[in-house]
Amino acid sequence: MPSERRLHPLSFLFAMAGQLRQFLLPGLVVIFTAGATRGEWEPWWMLALIPIGGAALIRSLSYRYRLDETELVVRTGFVFRKERHIPYARIQNIEAVQSVVHRLLQVIEVRIETGAGKEDDATMRVVPVGAYQEMRECVLGSRHVPLVAASETGPPEPGGTVIFRLPGRELLLSGLIDNRSAVLIAAAFGLVWELGMFDSLFGLLFGQQASGRSFIRQTLRAIFRGPVPSLQTVAFTVAAVSALFAGVTLISMAWAYVRLHGFVLRRLGDDLRAEYGLFTRISTTIPLRRIQTLTILEGPLHRLFGRAAVKVETAGADPDEQGATGREPLAPIIRRDDLDNLLGQVLPDVGFGTVEWLPPSPGALWRELRRSAIVASVCSLPFLFILKLWTIGLLGLLLAFAAVHARRYTASLGWATHDGAVLFRRGWMWRRVTATRFSKMQIVALHRSPFDRRTGMARLRVDTAGAASEADRIDIPYLPAAVASDLHRRLSAEASGTSFQW
């Protein structure tokens, strides 16, 4: 019987720090608003932290775990005791996070996911590095079910085979391409600035005479009543916006460089292991057969640089948990030339290169055209008040775009069943290809809206256990009704013919 272990003696510090971090932002808001309103009572809210910190302390002091032959046993609590048994076979993913502080103290935070829900089923905050290695070997070494095509790689080498690395240049490129979140931050910053929130903070940083505030409000006022803003003001705004955008892009690139520094994806037997991070080192291990869906994404910038991104979904991953400690894509950026190698490693039995895509119904173009024309009309409606007659010109532009969109979007739609998997491709600006194995399909559903019925079409949705974002699901629109119901029948037969493996 293996002995029980405790967490690292300094665990309680990290447990409390983890709790405090959640209160950092609200705390800052409290401090700044308190300063603004001259209130005296707000800081007392911080007292609420004490019991929360205490709970974390008790949890980390009482935490015991045991590595049995087939399962991990976790016990917590002094008064209300809880014992949790996690069979190794049910573990979806092991993730280890090591920040700078962790590294100084030679400890590591381990998260174990079983696919049961949003909460990490067992988060060990924190264990010594040696204990993590041992745990990983225990959990990953104890599984005996081999993958279909695992034999060709032979016995796993100790270090595993490197599938690909990302050098610094690629990381910067990834930051440049994927700066959508940064743009959001910029927009939020602009909004905060515009509406004069956090006045005391800005006052502190820029002095009381911060210029440019409430520019949009003034502009709108000027458009509605009175003279047009001067050329100088417009030029200033354009310059400010582009400077903000450039700055944000640079930050995004720097952030990608720091976050993904030294990205290595390895294959160890039937597992994929990604390791990355400059300050906070993250190591994720995904068993290959736990992959529910795989999505290849190519945006306009990806195509410009000949790159793509690959995401995989496992069961139990929390789609909201992105960012600092959240899950990164399997390949945040990859050269088109290396893509085939990666796909061959991840979904070896699906030949992506030889897929024959089948088109949607011929009527799809009209459906999409009508839909986007309606959207365009609705979008241009509010401008009637601002642009008056010029709205017709705007509407014309939008309708032209709608026509181009409908043509290219319906041309991009395609589906296929191929080598035991179902594939779906869509999008012309942001192209996505999503694939899932028959054995990972849960429910196959056929949807028929009134528009579908009138045009003899249907929509087919394939549900998987991967909590994929809406954009990465297999949800094929505009199928000819007969094709759809045939596919529905075939896929549900395939699903019931295979037994589901998490």
Binding site: V444, A445, R448, D463, T464, A465
Partner: protein, 178 residues
């Protein structure tokens, strides 16, 4: 679908998995009407209360007047909906249980056909509310590991049948698919 529905040898003729498309138990119409009327009565009473309260509180008379006119209209519409809708939706709902799983077809305007393979069922709840108990009806909630369709419900079958479908869909032997 006849080609796919050849019963395998291990399914006895009296099994619930006969592969025949069935409508719900017709008593579901009456049950839904009763539930609908209860909801209507509740909403209508709440709205009536709002009329009285605004009458007492409002300075201008037109808001309570408007509400007083709206009240019978809304109540009437709700009552009509509670009466007519169950029969319409009954005509559009059916299910098939076969050796591979269950297929449920429903929806009047937005129609759906949902197939739950037997091999994907995680667990099943059979429940019976107070009104359902009077009619001897039950509801089946089938849970899968999916995301959009993590739970698929089938209302309006006899409780006894719900239990039989459950027994059919749940895995017999303790096979671990991992």
């Amino acid at each position: 679908m006849s080609a796919d529905l050849e019963a395998p040898p291990d399914v006895a003729p009296a099994s619930v998995a006969d592969g025949v498309r069935r409508s719900l138990d017709p008593r579901i119409i009456q049950l839904e009407r009763i539930v609908g009327f209860i909801v209507t009565a509740g909403l209508s009473a709440g709205l009536a209360l709002a009329v009285v309260l605004t009458w007492l509180a409002a300075d201008s008379a037109w808001i309570p007047r408007l509400l007083a006119i709206a009240w019978p209209v809304i109540t009437g519409l709700l009552a009509w909906h509670s009466y007519a809708w169950p029969a319409i939706s009954y005509r559009h709902e059916s299910y098939v249980v076969d050796h591979r799983g269950i297929e449920i077809r429903r929806g009047v305007v937005w129609q759906r056909e949902i197939t739950v393979p037997k091999s994907r069922v995680q667990h099943i709840d059979v429940s019976q509310g107070p009104v359902e108990r009077r009619f001897g009806l039950g509801s089946l909630s089938i849970y899968t590991a999916g995301t959009d369709y993590a739970m698929v419900a089938l209302r309006g079958i006899t409780h006894e049948r719900a239990l039989r479908i459950r027994d059919h869909l749940l895995p017999k032997e303790a096979e671990d698919a991992v």
